[in-house]
Symmetry: C2
Protein backbone atom coordinates (compact mmCIF):
# COMPACT_ATOMS: atom_id res chain seq x y z
CA UNK A 1 0.00 0.00 0.00
CA UNK A 2 1.55 3.31 -0.98
CA UNK A 3 0.66 6.90 -0.25
CA UNK A 4 -1.43 7.24 -3.39
CA UNK A 5 -3.50 4.21 -2.53
CA UNK A 6 -4.20 5.41 0.98
CA UNK A 7 -6.18 8.31 -0.39
CA UNK A 8 -8.65 6.17 -2.31
CA UNK A 9 -12.21 6.36 -1.07
CA UNK A 10 -14.96 4.15 -2.46
CA UNK A 11 -18.46 5.57 -2.18
CA UNK A 12 -21.45 3.33 -2.76
CA UNK A 13 -24.59 5.16 -3.78
CA UNK A 14 -27.74 3.31 -2.81
CA UNK A 15 -30.38 2.72 -5.43
CA UNK A 16 -33.29 3.27 -3.08
CA UNK A 17 -35.53 6.30 -3.04
CA UNK A 18 -34.35 9.13 -0.84
CA UNK A 19 -30.71 8.89 -1.85
CA UNK A 20 -29.92 12.25 -3.48
CA UNK A 21 -27.73 11.77 -6.56
CA UNK A 22 -27.36 15.47 -7.15
CA UNK A 23 -26.01 16.19 -3.66
CA UNK A 24 -23.66 13.22 -3.78
CA UNK A 25 -22.33 14.26 -7.20
CA UNK A 26 -21.79 17.87 -6.04
CA UNK A 27 -19.93 16.67 -2.99
CA UNK A 28 -17.83 14.24 -5.07
CA UNK A 29 -17.02 17.02 -7.54
CA UNK A 30 -15.66 19.25 -4.78
CA UNK A 31 -13.62 16.45 -3.22
CA UNK A 32 -12.03 15.77 -6.60
CA UNK A 33 -10.90 19.40 -6.89
CA UNK A 34 -9.20 18.76 -3.52
CA UNK A 35 -7.24 15.88 -5.11
CA UNK A 36 -9.13 13.11 -3.37
CA UNK A 37 -9.21 9.86 -5.35
CA UNK A 38 -12.77 8.60 -5.53
CA UNK A 39 -14.50 5.59 -7.02
CA UNK A 40 -18.28 5.37 -7.10
CA UNK A 41 -20.29 2.16 -7.08
CA UNK A 42 -24.06 2.41 -7.38
CA UNK A 43 -27.18 0.36 -6.98
CA UNK A 44 -30.40 0.76 -8.88
CA UNK A 45 -33.05 -1.32 -7.19
CA UNK A 46 -35.80 1.32 -7.26
CA UNK A 47 -35.24 2.02 -10.96
CA UNK A 48 -35.07 -1.69 -11.78
CA UNK A 49 -38.31 -2.33 -9.90
CA UNK A 50 -40.08 0.54 -11.66
CA UNK A 51 -38.85 -0.45 -15.12
CA UNK A 52 -39.93 -4.03 -14.44
CA UNK A 53 -43.41 -2.85 -13.54
CA UNK A 54 -43.56 -0.60 -16.64
CA UNK A 55 -42.51 -3.50 -18.88
CA UNK A 56 -44.86 -5.95 -17.21
CA UNK A 57 -41.97 -7.99 -15.82
CA UNK A 58 -42.53 -7.14 -12.14
CA UNK A 59 -39.64 -7.73 -9.73
CA UNK A 60 -39.54 -10.87 -7.62
CA UNK A 61 -37.37 -11.54 -4.61
CA UNK A 62 -35.78 -14.56 -3.02
CA UNK A 63 -35.58 -14.99 0.74
CA UNK A 64 -32.80 -17.30 1.83
CA UNK A 65 -33.25 -19.72 4.75
CA UNK A 66 -31.14 -17.31 6.87
CA UNK A 67 -33.47 -14.43 6.03
CA UNK A 68 -31.44 -12.56 3.40
CA UNK A 69 -33.47 -11.04 0.60
CA UNK A 70 -32.14 -10.75 -2.94
CA UNK A 71 -33.53 -10.08 -6.41
CA UNK A 72 -34.71 -13.09 -8.39
CA UNK A 73 -32.94 -12.48 -11.68
CA UNK A 74 -34.00 -14.81 -14.43
CA UNK A 75 -32.93 -14.03 -18.02
CA UNK A 76 -35.75 -11.57 -18.69
CA UNK A 77 -35.32 -9.80 -15.37
CA UNK A 78 -31.58 -9.58 -16.03
CA UNK A 79 -32.28 -7.64 -19.24
CA UNK A 80 -34.51 -5.24 -17.32
CA UNK A 81 -31.93 -4.95 -14.55
CA UNK A 82 -29.13 -4.12 -16.98
CA UNK A 83 -31.23 -1.51 -18.77
CA UNK A 84 -32.17 0.16 -15.50
CA UNK A 85 -28.85 -0.06 -13.71
CA UNK A 86 -26.36 0.27 -16.55
CA UNK A 87 -28.47 2.21 -19.03
CA UNK A 88 -30.35 4.55 -16.76
CA UNK A 89 -28.72 4.96 -13.33
CA UNK A 90 -25.11 4.75 -14.50
CA UNK A 91 -25.64 7.14 -17.41
CA UNK A 92 -27.50 9.59 -15.19
CA UNK A 93 -24.66 9.65 -12.66
CA UNK A 94 -22.07 10.09 -15.40
CA UNK A 95 -24.08 12.91 -16.93
CA UNK A 96 -24.63 14.69 -13.60
CA UNK A 97 -20.94 14.44 -12.76
CA UNK A 98 -19.88 15.65 -16.21
CA UNK A 99 -22.25 18.62 -15.79
CA UNK A 100 -20.34 19.47 -12.64
CA UNK A 101 -17.01 19.29 -14.44
CA UNK A 102 -15.95 15.82 -13.32
CA UNK A 103 -14.61 13.51 -16.03
CA UNK A 104 -16.74 10.56 -15.00
CA UNK A 105 -16.35 7.20 -16.69
CA UNK A 106 -19.23 4.75 -16.40
CA UNK A 107 -18.63 1.06 -16.60
CA UNK A 108 -20.09 -2.19 -15.37
CA UNK A 109 -18.26 -5.21 -14.07
CA UNK A 110 -18.60 -6.78 -17.52
CA UNK A 111 -16.41 -4.21 -19.21
CA UNK A 112 -12.89 -5.49 -19.46
CA UNK A 113 -13.98 -8.22 -17.03
CA UNK A 114 -13.69 -5.67 -14.21
CA UNK A 115 -15.72 -7.77 -11.75
CA UNK A 116 -15.56 -11.52 -12.24
CA UNK A 117 -18.03 -13.69 -10.40
CA UNK A 118 -19.20 -17.25 -10.15
CA UNK A 119 -22.84 -17.85 -10.90
CA UNK A 120 -24.88 -19.30 -8.05
CA UNK A 121 -26.27 -22.34 -9.81
CA UNK A 122 -28.67 -23.44 -7.14
CA UNK A 123 -30.18 -21.02 -4.66
CA UNK A 124 -32.27 -22.03 -1.70
CA UNK A 125 -35.40 -19.98 -1.34
CA UNK A 126 -38.08 -19.98 1.30
CA UNK A 127 -41.60 -19.28 0.12
CA UNK A 128 -44.57 -19.54 2.46
CA UNK A 129 -42.42 -21.53 4.83
CA UNK A 130 -41.39 -24.04 2.16
CA UNK A 131 -37.89 -24.42 0.77
CA UNK A 132 -37.30 -24.66 -2.95
CA UNK A 133 -34.23 -24.64 -5.18
CA UNK A 134 -33.96 -21.97 -7.87
CA UNK A 135 -31.76 -22.79 -10.85
CA UNK A 136 -32.55 -20.09 -13.42
CA UNK A 137 -31.19 -17.17 -11.43
CA UNK A 138 -28.35 -15.06 -12.81
CA UNK A 139 -26.69 -13.77 -9.71
CA UNK A 140 -23.16 -14.36 -8.64
CA UNK A 141 -20.54 -14.29 -5.94
CA UNK A 142 -17.64 -11.98 -6.73
CA UNK A 143 -14.25 -13.66 -7.22
CA UNK A 144 -11.98 -10.84 -8.39
CA UNK A 145 -11.89 -7.14 -9.20
CA UNK A 146 -9.36 -5.94 -11.80
CA UNK A 147 -7.73 -3.14 -9.86
CA UNK A 148 -5.36 -2.28 -12.75
CA UNK A 149 -8.23 -1.10 -14.90
CA UNK A 150 -9.45 1.27 -12.18
CA UNK A 151 -5.91 2.52 -11.51
CA UNK A 152 -5.60 3.32 -15.23
CA UNK A 153 -8.80 5.39 -15.12
CA UNK A 154 -7.72 7.19 -11.94
CA UNK A 155 -4.28 7.90 -13.42
CA UNK A 156 -6.03 9.52 -16.39
CA UNK A 157 -7.90 11.73 -13.88
CA UNK A 158 -11.21 10.04 -14.50
CA UNK A 159 -13.80 9.11 -11.91
CA UNK A 160 -14.90 5.48 -12.31
CA UNK A 161 -18.65 4.99 -11.81
CA UNK A 162 -19.40 1.29 -11.49
CA UNK A 163 -22.70 -0.50 -12.09
CA UNK A 164 -23.20 -3.69 -10.02
CA UNK A 165 -23.17 -6.22 -12.84
CA UNK A 166 -20.43 -8.82 -12.85
CA UNK A 167 -19.35 -11.22 -15.55
CA UNK A 168 -19.56 -14.97 -15.13
CA UNK A 169 -17.20 -17.66 -16.33
CA UNK A 170 -19.19 -18.09 -19.56
CA UNK A 171 -19.29 -14.35 -20.27
CA UNK A 172 -22.80 -13.99 -18.94
CA UNK A 173 -23.90 -10.90 -16.99
CA UNK A 174 -24.54 -11.59 -13.31
CA UNK A 175 -26.44 -9.55 -10.75
CA UNK A 176 -24.26 -8.88 -7.72
CA UNK A 177 -25.20 -7.07 -4.56
CA UNK A 178 -24.00 -3.47 -4.93
CA UNK A 179 -22.87 -3.12 -1.30
CA UNK A 180 -20.74 -6.20 -1.55
CA UNK A 181 -19.45 -5.13 -4.98
CA UNK A 182 -18.40 -1.81 -3.41
CA UNK A 183 -16.67 -3.74 -0.62
CA UNK A 184 -14.76 -5.90 -3.10
CA UNK A 185 -13.77 -2.84 -5.14
CA UNK A 186 -12.55 -1.08 -1.98
CA UNK A 187 -10.55 -4.15 -0.97
CA UNK A 188 -8.99 -4.64 -4.43
CA UNK A 189 -8.06 -0.95 -4.59
CA UNK A 190 -6.62 -1.03 -1.06
CA UNK A 191 -8.94 1.84 -0.29
CA UNK A 192 -8.67 3.57 3.04
CA UNK A 193 -12.38 4.23 3.38
CA UNK A 194 -15.62 2.73 2.12
CA UNK A 195 -18.77 4.81 2.52
CA UNK A 196 -22.14 3.13 2.02
CA UNK A 197 -24.69 5.88 1.38
CA UNK A 198 -28.30 4.93 1.93
CA UNK A 199 -31.63 6.57 2.81
CA UNK A 200 -31.14 6.37 6.60
CA UNK A 201 -28.47 7.85 8.91
CA UNK A 202 -26.86 4.48 9.62
CA UNK A 203 -27.57 1.36 11.60
CA UNK A 204 -30.01 1.84 14.48
CA UNK A 205 -30.48 -0.31 17.54
CA UNK A 206 -34.17 0.24 17.28
CA UNK A 207 -35.08 1.06 13.68
CA UNK A 208 -36.49 3.61 12.71
CA UNK A 209 -35.72 5.54 15.91
CA UNK A 210 -32.77 7.70 14.80
CA UNK A 211 -31.86 8.44 18.41
CA UNK A 212 -30.70 4.81 18.58
CA UNK A 213 -28.12 5.29 15.80
CA UNK A 214 -25.05 3.18 16.45
CA UNK A 215 -22.26 5.68 15.89
CA UNK A 216 -18.94 3.95 16.45
CA UNK A 217 -18.23 0.24 16.20
CA UNK A 218 -15.00 -1.61 16.78
CA UNK A 219 -14.40 -4.04 13.91
CA UNK A 220 -14.14 -6.94 16.35
CA UNK A 221 -17.77 -6.33 17.34
CA UNK A 222 -19.18 -6.25 13.82
CA UNK A 223 -20.85 -9.65 13.99
CA UNK A 224 -23.03 -8.36 16.81
CA UNK A 225 -24.34 -5.64 14.46
CA UNK A 226 -26.24 -8.19 12.36
CA UNK A 227 -28.89 -8.55 15.07
CA UNK A 228 -29.89 -4.90 14.51
CA UNK A 229 -29.78 -5.05 10.71
CA UNK A 230 -33.03 -5.45 8.84
CA UNK A 231 -33.71 -6.13 5.17
CA UNK A 232 -31.05 -4.72 2.87
CA UNK A 233 -29.08 -3.37 5.85
CA UNK A 234 -27.92 -6.96 6.36
CA UNK A 235 -26.02 -6.77 3.06
CA UNK A 236 -24.37 -3.53 4.15
CA UNK A 237 -23.10 -5.10 7.35
CA UNK A 238 -21.86 -8.12 5.38
CA UNK A 239 -20.15 -5.79 2.89
CA UNK A 240 -18.59 -3.82 5.73
CA UNK A 241 -17.29 -6.99 7.29
CA UNK A 242 -15.80 -8.23 4.00
CA UNK A 243 -14.13 -4.88 3.34
CA UNK A 244 -12.60 -4.70 6.82
CA UNK A 245 -11.37 -8.28 6.68
CA UNK A 246 -9.70 -7.55 3.36
CA UNK A 247 -7.80 -4.52 4.60
CA UNK A 248 -10.07 -1.49 4.29
CA UNK A 249 -9.50 0.71 7.36
CA UNK A 250 -12.88 2.42 7.73
CA UNK A 251 -16.42 1.56 6.68
CA UNK A 252 -19.11 4.19 7.10
CA UNK A 253 -22.83 3.50 6.72
CA UNK A 254 -24.36 6.93 6.24
CA UNK A 255 -27.20 9.12 5.01
CA UNK A 256 -27.19 9.82 1.27
CA UNK A 257 -30.08 12.26 1.40
CA UNK A 258 -28.46 15.20 3.24
CA UNK A 259 -26.45 18.15 1.93
CA UNK A 260 -22.81 17.14 1.27
CA UNK A 261 -23.45 13.54 2.29
CA UNK A 262 -19.82 12.43 2.02
CA UNK A 263 -18.51 15.26 4.24
CA UNK A 264 -21.44 14.69 6.60
CA UNK A 265 -20.48 11.04 6.99
CA UNK A 266 -16.77 11.78 7.39
CA UNK A 267 -17.68 14.22 10.18
CA UNK A 268 -18.94 11.24 12.13
CA UNK A 269 -22.67 11.45 11.42
CA UNK A 270 -23.00 7.78 10.57
CA UNK A 271 -22.30 4.26 11.72
CA UNK A 272 -18.50 4.21 11.60
CA UNK A 273 -16.80 0.83 11.78
CA UNK A 274 -13.04 0.71 12.08
CA UNK B 1 0.35 7.44 -38.76
CA UNK B 2 2.48 4.49 -37.73
CA UNK B 3 2.40 0.83 -38.59
CA UNK B 4 0.26 -0.05 -35.59
CA UNK B 5 -2.37 2.51 -36.51
CA UNK B 6 -2.60 1.27 -40.07
CA UNK B 7 -4.03 -2.01 -38.85
CA UNK B 8 -6.99 -0.47 -37.04
CA UNK B 9 -10.36 -1.39 -38.48
CA UNK B 10 -13.60 0.20 -37.26
CA UNK B 11 -16.72 -1.92 -37.72
CA UNK B 12 -20.12 -0.35 -37.33
CA UNK B 13 -22.87 -2.80 -36.46
CA UNK B 14 -26.26 -1.62 -37.62
CA UNK B 15 -29.10 -1.63 -35.15
CA UNK B 16 -31.70 -2.73 -37.65
CA UNK B 17 -33.27 -6.14 -37.79
CA UNK B 18 -31.42 -8.66 -39.92
CA UNK B 19 -27.97 -7.69 -38.70
CA UNK B 20 -26.60 -10.82 -37.01
CA UNK B 21 -24.72 -9.92 -33.80
CA UNK B 22 -23.63 -13.47 -33.18
CA UNK B 23 -22.00 -13.87 -36.60
CA UNK B 24 -20.30 -10.50 -36.35
CA UNK B 25 -18.97 -11.26 -32.86
CA UNK B 26 -17.64 -14.66 -33.97
CA UNK B 27 -15.90 -13.09 -36.93
CA UNK B 28 -14.47 -10.31 -34.74
CA UNK B 29 -13.24 -12.87 -32.22
CA UNK B 30 -11.31 -14.76 -34.91
CA UNK B 31 -9.80 -11.58 -36.36
CA UNK B 32 -8.55 -10.61 -32.90
CA UNK B 33 -6.73 -13.93 -32.54
CA UNK B 34 -5.03 -12.94 -35.83
CA UNK B 35 -3.78 -9.73 -34.14
CA UNK B 36 -6.11 -7.38 -35.97
CA UNK B 37 -6.94 -4.22 -34.01
CA UNK B 38 -10.69 -3.73 -34.07
CA UNK B 39 -13.09 -1.17 -32.68
CA UNK B 40 -16.84 -1.74 -32.80
CA UNK B 41 -19.46 1.00 -32.95
CA UNK B 42 -23.10 -0.02 -32.85
CA UNK B 43 -26.56 1.37 -33.42
CA UNK B 44 -29.73 0.26 -31.72
CA UNK B 45 -32.65 1.78 -33.54
CA UNK B 46 -34.80 -1.37 -33.62
CA UNK B 47 -34.30 -1.95 -29.87
CA UNK B 48 -34.95 1.72 -29.07
CA UNK B 49 -38.15 1.67 -31.13
CA UNK B 50 -39.37 -1.52 -29.46
CA UNK B 51 -38.57 -0.30 -25.93
CA UNK B 52 -40.33 2.98 -26.68
CA UNK B 53 -43.43 1.11 -27.78
CA UNK B 54 -43.29 -1.14 -24.69
CA UNK B 55 -42.98 1.90 -22.40
CA UNK B 56 -45.69 3.82 -24.21
CA UNK B 57 -43.21 6.43 -25.45
CA UNK B 58 -43.38 5.51 -29.15
CA UNK B 59 -40.55 6.69 -31.40
CA UNK B 60 -41.00 9.80 -33.51
CA UNK B 61 -38.88 10.92 -36.41
CA UNK B 62 -37.85 14.23 -37.93
CA UNK B 63 -37.56 14.73 -41.67
CA UNK B 64 -35.25 17.59 -42.63
CA UNK B 65 -36.02 19.89 -45.59
CA UNK B 66 -33.36 18.00 -47.57
CA UNK B 67 -35.10 14.69 -46.86
CA UNK B 68 -32.86 13.23 -44.12
CA UNK B 69 -34.67 11.30 -41.42
CA UNK B 70 -33.51 11.27 -37.80
CA UNK B 71 -34.90 10.28 -34.42
CA UNK B 72 -36.80 12.97 -32.52
CA UNK B 73 -35.10 12.70 -29.12
CA UNK B 74 -36.77 14.75 -26.43
CA UNK B 75 -35.74 14.18 -22.79
CA UNK B 76 -38.03 11.19 -22.25
CA UNK B 77 -37.07 9.57 -25.53
CA UNK B 78 -33.41 10.12 -24.67
CA UNK B 79 -33.86 8.05 -21.50
CA UNK B 80 -35.44 5.26 -23.54
CA UNK B 81 -32.71 5.54 -26.16
CA UNK B 82 -29.93 5.27 -23.57
CA UNK B 83 -31.54 2.29 -21.87
CA UNK B 84 -31.93 0.47 -25.18
CA UNK B 85 -28.63 1.38 -26.79
CA UNK B 86 -26.29 1.56 -23.82
CA UNK B 87 -28.09 -0.77 -21.44
CA UNK B 88 -29.32 -3.45 -23.80
CA UNK B 89 -27.46 -3.50 -27.13
CA UNK B 90 -24.03 -2.57 -25.77
CA UNK B 91 -24.22 -5.04 -22.89
CA UNK B 92 -25.43 -7.79 -25.19
CA UNK B 93 -22.50 -7.27 -27.57
CA UNK B 94 -20.02 -7.17 -24.68
CA UNK B 95 -21.49 -10.36 -23.25
CA UNK B 96 -21.48 -12.19 -26.61
CA UNK B 97 -17.87 -11.17 -27.24
CA UNK B 98 -16.78 -12.17 -23.73
CA UNK B 99 -18.47 -15.54 -24.26
CA UNK B 100 -16.25 -15.99 -27.30
CA UNK B 101 -13.14 -15.14 -25.30
CA UNK B 102 -12.75 -11.51 -26.40
CA UNK B 103 -12.06 -8.99 -23.64
CA UNK B 104 -14.69 -6.53 -24.80
CA UNK B 105 -15.10 -3.16 -23.11
CA UNK B 106 -18.40 -1.37 -23.58
CA UNK B 107 -18.59 2.38 -23.37
CA UNK B 108 -20.61 5.26 -24.69
CA UNK B 109 -19.37 8.60 -25.90
CA UNK B 110 -20.22 10.05 -22.48
CA UNK B 111 -17.64 7.96 -20.65
CA UNK B 112 -14.46 9.97 -20.22
CA UNK B 113 -15.97 12.43 -22.74
CA UNK B 114 -15.02 9.99 -25.50
CA UNK B 115 -17.30 11.63 -28.09
CA UNK B 116 -17.95 15.33 -27.61
CA UNK B 117 -20.69 16.95 -29.59
CA UNK B 118 -22.57 20.21 -29.92
CA UNK B 119 -26.27 20.06 -29.38
CA UNK B 120 -28.43 21.08 -32.33
CA UNK B 121 -30.51 23.73 -30.66
CA UNK B 122 -32.95 24.34 -33.45
CA UNK B 123 -33.78 21.70 -36.01
CA UNK B 124 -35.89 22.28 -39.09
CA UNK B 125 -38.51 19.66 -39.58
CA UNK B 126 -40.98 19.13 -42.40
CA UNK B 127 -44.35 17.72 -41.40
CA UNK B 128 -47.19 17.41 -43.91
CA UNK B 129 -45.35 19.81 -46.18
CA UNK B 130 -45.00 22.45 -43.46
CA UNK B 131 -41.74 23.51 -41.86
CA UNK B 132 -41.40 23.84 -38.11
CA UNK B 133 -38.52 24.42 -35.72
CA UNK B 134 -37.85 21.81 -33.01
CA UNK B 135 -36.03 23.07 -29.91
CA UNK B 136 -36.38 20.22 -27.39
CA UNK B 137 -34.35 17.67 -29.28
CA UNK B 138 -31.22 16.18 -27.74
CA UNK B 139 -29.16 15.27 -30.75
CA UNK B 140 -25.76 16.59 -31.63
CA UNK B 141 -23.04 17.06 -34.19
CA UNK B 142 -19.78 15.41 -33.23
CA UNK B 143 -16.83 17.73 -32.57
CA UNK B 144 -14.10 15.45 -31.26
CA UNK B 145 -13.29 11.83 -30.43
CA UNK B 146 -10.70 11.17 -27.67
CA UNK B 147 -8.43 8.78 -29.52
CA UNK B 148 -6.10 8.41 -26.50
CA UNK B 149 -8.77 6.65 -24.50
CA UNK B 150 -9.33 4.08 -27.26
CA UNK B 151 -5.58 3.59 -27.74
CA UNK B 152 -5.32 2.86 -24.00
CA UNK B 153 -8.00 0.18 -24.27
CA UNK B 154 -6.42 -1.33 -27.40
CA UNK B 155 -2.99 -1.33 -25.71
CA UNK B 156 -4.54 -3.30 -22.83
CA UNK B 157 -5.76 -5.83 -25.44
CA UNK B 158 -9.38 -4.89 -24.99
CA UNK B 159 -11.95 -4.48 -27.74
CA UNK B 160 -13.79 -1.16 -27.41
CA UNK B 161 -17.53 -1.47 -28.12
CA UNK B 162 -19.01 2.01 -28.51
CA UNK B 163 -22.66 3.09 -28.08
CA UNK B 164 -23.66 6.12 -30.19
CA UNK B 165 -24.31 8.57 -27.39
CA UNK B 166 -22.19 11.70 -27.25
CA UNK B 167 -21.75 14.25 -24.51
CA UNK B 168 -22.72 17.88 -24.96
CA UNK B 169 -21.02 20.99 -23.65
CA UNK B 170 -23.22 20.96 -20.52
CA UNK B 171 -22.60 17.27 -19.81
CA UNK B 172 -25.89 16.23 -21.35
CA UNK B 173 -26.23 12.98 -23.31
CA UNK B 174 -26.80 13.54 -27.02
CA UNK B 175 -28.09 11.18 -29.66
CA UNK B 176 -25.67 10.99 -32.56
CA UNK B 177 -26.03 9.05 -35.76
CA UNK B 178 -24.14 5.77 -35.31
CA UNK B 179 -22.77 5.70 -38.89
CA UNK B 180 -21.32 9.14 -38.52
CA UNK B 181 -20.04 8.32 -35.02
CA UNK B 182 -18.24 5.32 -36.53
CA UNK B 183 -16.81 7.58 -39.24
CA UNK B 184 -15.50 10.06 -36.65
CA UNK B 185 -14.02 7.26 -34.54
CA UNK B 186 -12.30 5.81 -37.63
CA UNK B 187 -10.92 9.24 -38.55
CA UNK B 188 -9.68 10.01 -35.01
CA UNK B 189 -8.02 6.59 -34.77
CA UNK B 190 -6.47 7.01 -38.23
CA UNK B 191 -8.09 3.71 -39.09
CA UNK B 192 -7.28 2.12 -42.40
CA UNK B 193 -10.75 0.69 -42.95
CA UNK B 194 -14.30 1.48 -41.87
CA UNK B 195 -16.91 -1.21 -42.43
CA UNK B 196 -20.58 -0.26 -42.11
CA UNK B 197 -22.54 -3.49 -41.61
CA UNK B 198 -26.23 -3.28 -42.37
CA UNK B 199 -29.10 -5.57 -43.40
CA UNK B 200 -28.46 -5.24 -47.16
CA UNK B 201 -25.42 -6.13 -49.32
CA UNK B 202 -24.51 -2.49 -49.96
CA UNK B 203 -25.74 0.45 -51.99
CA UNK B 204 -27.86 -0.52 -54.99
CA UNK B 205 -28.58 1.54 -58.09
CA UNK B 206 -32.11 0.24 -58.02
CA UNK B 207 -33.02 -0.79 -54.46
CA UNK B 208 -33.92 -3.58 -53.58
CA UNK B 209 -32.60 -5.27 -56.74
CA UNK B 210 -29.33 -6.80 -55.46
CA UNK B 211 -28.11 -7.31 -59.02
CA UNK B 212 -27.71 -3.52 -59.14
CA UNK B 213 -25.24 -3.48 -56.19
CA UNK B 214 -22.63 -0.78 -56.71
CA UNK B 215 -19.41 -2.65 -55.98
CA UNK B 216 -16.50 -0.28 -56.37
CA UNK B 217 -16.58 3.49 -56.12
CA UNK B 218 -13.78 5.98 -56.51
CA UNK B 219 -13.84 8.45 -53.63
CA UNK B 220 -14.06 11.36 -56.05
CA UNK B 221 -17.41 10.03 -57.24
CA UNK B 222 -18.97 9.63 -53.79
CA UNK B 223 -21.31 12.61 -54.04
CA UNK B 224 -23.01 10.92 -56.98
CA UNK B 225 -23.87 7.98 -54.71
CA UNK B 226 -26.36 10.05 -52.73
CA UNK B 227 -28.87 9.89 -55.56
CA UNK B 228 -29.14 6.12 -55.06
CA UNK B 229 -29.27 6.25 -51.26
CA UNK B 230 -32.63 5.97 -49.58
CA UNK B 231 -33.62 6.48 -45.93
CA UNK B 232 -30.86 5.64 -43.50
CA UNK B 233 -28.50 4.71 -46.35
CA UNK B 234 -28.06 8.48 -46.82
CA UNK B 235 -26.34 8.64 -43.42
CA UNK B 236 -24.02 5.82 -44.40
CA UNK B 237 -22.93 7.63 -47.53
CA UNK B 238 -22.44 10.83 -45.52
CA UNK B 239 -20.44 8.89 -42.92
CA UNK B 240 -18.35 7.31 -45.67
CA UNK B 241 -17.63 10.70 -47.18
CA UNK B 242 -16.62 12.19 -43.81
CA UNK B 243 -14.33 9.26 -43.05
CA UNK B 244 -12.61 9.41 -46.44
CA UNK B 245 -12.15 13.17 -46.26
CA UNK B 246 -10.54 12.76 -42.83
CA UNK B 247 -8.00 10.20 -43.97
CA UNK B 248 -9.62 6.76 -43.74
CA UNK B 249 -8.45 4.76 -46.78
CA UNK B 250 -11.37 2.40 -47.32
CA UNK B 251 -15.06 2.48 -46.49
CA UNK B 252 -17.12 -0.63 -47.06
CA UNK B 253 -20.92 -0.73 -46.85
CA UNK B 254 -21.73 -4.40 -46.43
CA UNK B 255 -24.12 -7.14 -45.36
CA UNK B 256 -24.19 -7.86 -41.62
CA UNK B 257 -26.48 -10.84 -41.89
CA UNK B 258 -24.20 -13.35 -43.64
CA UNK B 259 -21.70 -15.85 -42.22
CA UNK B 260 -18.39 -14.11 -41.34
CA UNK B 261 -19.71 -10.71 -42.41
CA UNK B 262 -16.38 -8.88 -41.95
CA UNK B 263 -14.42 -11.37 -44.09
CA UNK B 264 -17.26 -11.39 -46.61
CA UNK B 265 -17.07 -7.60 -46.95
CA UNK B 266 -13.27 -7.57 -47.15
CA UNK B 267 -13.50 -10.14 -49.97
CA UNK B 268 -15.25 -7.47 -52.01
CA UNK B 269 -18.88 -8.44 -51.49
CA UNK B 270 -20.03 -4.91 -50.67
CA UNK B 271 -19.99 -1.31 -51.81
CA UNK B 272 -16.28 -0.47 -51.49
CA UNK B 273 -15.31 3.17 -51.61
CA UNK B 274 -11.63 4.09 -51.71
Amino acid sequence: MNDKNLKIMVVKIGGTEGVDFSRICSNAARLITEDKKLILVHGGSAEANQLGVDLNIPPRFITSPSGHTSRYTDQKTMEVFIMAVNGKVNSRLVSQLQEKGVNAFGLSGMDGRLIQATRKEAIQSVENGKRRIIRDDFSGKIDTVQADLLHTLLAAEMLPVIAPIAIGKAGEPLNVDADRAAAEVAAAMKADTLILLTAVPGLMKSFPDERTLIKKVDRKDITSLQEYAQGRMKNKVLGAQEALEKGVSNVLIADGSVENPIDHALAGNCTWIC
